[in-house]
Amino acid sequence: MSASSRAGDLPASVTARTGCRLGMQLVLAYRFEALVQLVSASVVALLNWSLWTAIYQGRDQVVGRSAAEMTTYVVVAWVITTFYGTRVDQELSGRFREGLIAVDLLRPWDLHLHHYFRDLGRAGTALLITTLPLFAWTGGLLHLRAPRHWWTWPVFGISLLLAHAISFGFAWLVGVASFRLRNAAGLAHLKATVIGVLSGSLIPLDLYPGVMRPIVLALPFQGMSHTPANIFTERIPWDQVWQPLGVQLAWAVALFIVGRRALRGALRAVVVQGG
């Protein structure tokens, strides 16, 4: 079965609409999980904020960042993980494990696009009920530095959307890999680790020492937290902001194409496990 568009598939606009709606409904159906995410992201944001506030005691600057910029970075970088953090890899491997992938392939839409839009719907709903409330309380209580220019907001928005696309693209590859490995639990662990270390969600990536810095900055994961948070803290000047956005876009597109290829290849070798 081919993963690219097939005759008889619904048009992409319908795939987008139904996918987004399903994603939203799934978040709303699991409200408790959303609440858990809200509280747990708050705890981590508070921890990182406290830590960096302590580090700046008696210091004005650490690697060229002021205390206000650094605390804003670590809080924003973590808060946005609630937006782009996807579980499509676990969903995909779950569908596969239960043999339901066979049913999914019969549906009249493109599996890859459907899941992308479904996760976009998930992210949009999470934005409203988790990410924005987090922004509100951390911004108010932790004295974060709001962007000075109005245009930072729309640019930050675009960067977030691209961050989500990169996150989805990577998670999709992990999910497809589980087709062959038959089990994704260990792989999911590794994915969480890779994102924790390489996305910049805990610490700005330019703080990594020596040999690690150029490597982590060259990988796609920096587009997940590092780039959006640096745009939010206005570390990148206005006339250069297209560069990190372009890098994000390039990675998002590359991961999208590789993801389609990978799915096609995996489906050729797929063994549907009976129920």
Binding site: F32, E33, V36, V39, S40, V43, V44, L46, L47, S50, L51, A54, I55, Q57, R59, V62, V63, N183, A185, G186, L187, A188, H189, L190, A192, T193, G196, V197, L202, I203, L207, Y208, P209
Partner: protein
């Protein structure tokens, strides 16, 4: 004499069951356990065998958990490559506290992973019925069901971090060496106690989700010197969810800091009290259990 009508049925079974030759079915059974402890040992061994059956998965999980734990090291390394200290705490001091917290967390995950499964698997799905039918403590059975040997390397990583930190610390006295395992074990008990208390809510509030992971998240604070945090957080970590007793208070004794010596001294008492109270709460909660009947 056997009635001959049973023959076809037996043949059908022999096709499903593995061939065990002429040995009677119970030949490898060593007889009933002689003591309660023996029964627990055998139960735990059986569960460990079940987990080890999926060798590849086991290894991937072990490696994954190990690397997740290693993130902390990268994080500390990155911070301390730019600043010499955090409010007067050196790299080696923070590393020692972190290592102690990591070791306690690793052992905790080996033994108490079952706390996570209580709500959904045992209360909502009713697997507690099966557990309650056996003449062994329900709590211990659930913990043994989820014995998680994969996280032993995490505990070792924590010990490794402590060993590395020693190069920047005063040398330990004999008493300090002797107390180290006690503090570690009691640190595990504090973690287990707090989370057992929260998991017992699952008997009353019927919900798929559980607050255990959430409360555990707060234990990330115990990897740092407590006085870098604001007063309310310090009080929270000492009195409400006493995670400061897991690693920080005992660790200060090894760092040669005297301010928290009293807290370190009472750590074992606090640990036993917290765990005892939590187990009592858990037992009370268990009375509220109603089988879903499925």
């Amino acid at each position: 004499m056997r009635p001959s009508v049973r023959r076809p049925q037996q043949q059908a079974f022999s096709r499903v069951l593995p061939d065990i030759g002429d040995a009677p079915l119970g030949a490898s059974y060593p007889g009933p356990p002689r003591s309660r402890l023996g029964a627990l040992w055998r139960y735990g061994l059986m569960r460990a065998k079940v987990r080890l059956a999926y060798r590849g998965d086991f290894l991937l999980n072990a490696v994954g958990d190990f690397i997740v734990a290693g993130i902390g090291l990268v994080f500390l390394w990155a911070i301390f490559s730019h600043v010499p200290d955090i409010r007067g705490w050196s790299f080696h001091e923070v590393l020692f506290i972190w290592g102690m917290g990591e070791a306690a967390a690793g052992l905790f995950f080996v033994l108490f992973q079952g706390l996570w499964a209580l709500n959904q698997q045992y209360v909502l799905r009713g697997e507690l019925d099966r557990v309650l039918l056996r003449p062994l403590d329900a709590y211990v059975q659930i913990m043994l069901d989820h014995l998680n040997l994969e996280d032993l390397p995490v505990a070792l990583l924590g010990l490794g971090m402590m060993a590395w930190a020693r190069e920047g610390l005063p040398s330990f006295s004999l008493a300090q060496w002797l107390m180290l395992p006690v503090f570690l074990a009691c640190g595990v008990l504090v973690l287990a106690g707090v989370l057992t208390a929260f998991s017992s809510l699952g008997f009353r509030i019927l919900h798929r989700g559980t607050a255990v992971g959430l409360v555990y998240q707060a234990s990330a604070f115990n990897r740092y010197p407590i006085d870098i945090f604001s007063r309310p957080i310090q009080r929270l970590l000492t009195w409400v969810v006493p995670f400061a007793f897991v690693a920080f208070f005992p660790a200060t004794w090894y760092l040669g800091r005297t301010r928290w010596l009293g807290w370190a001294a009472v750590q074992p008492v606090v640990a036993v009290a917290v765990f005892g109270l939590a187990r009592w709460l858990w037992g009370r909660g268990l009375r509220h259990y109603r089988s879903p009947g499925s």
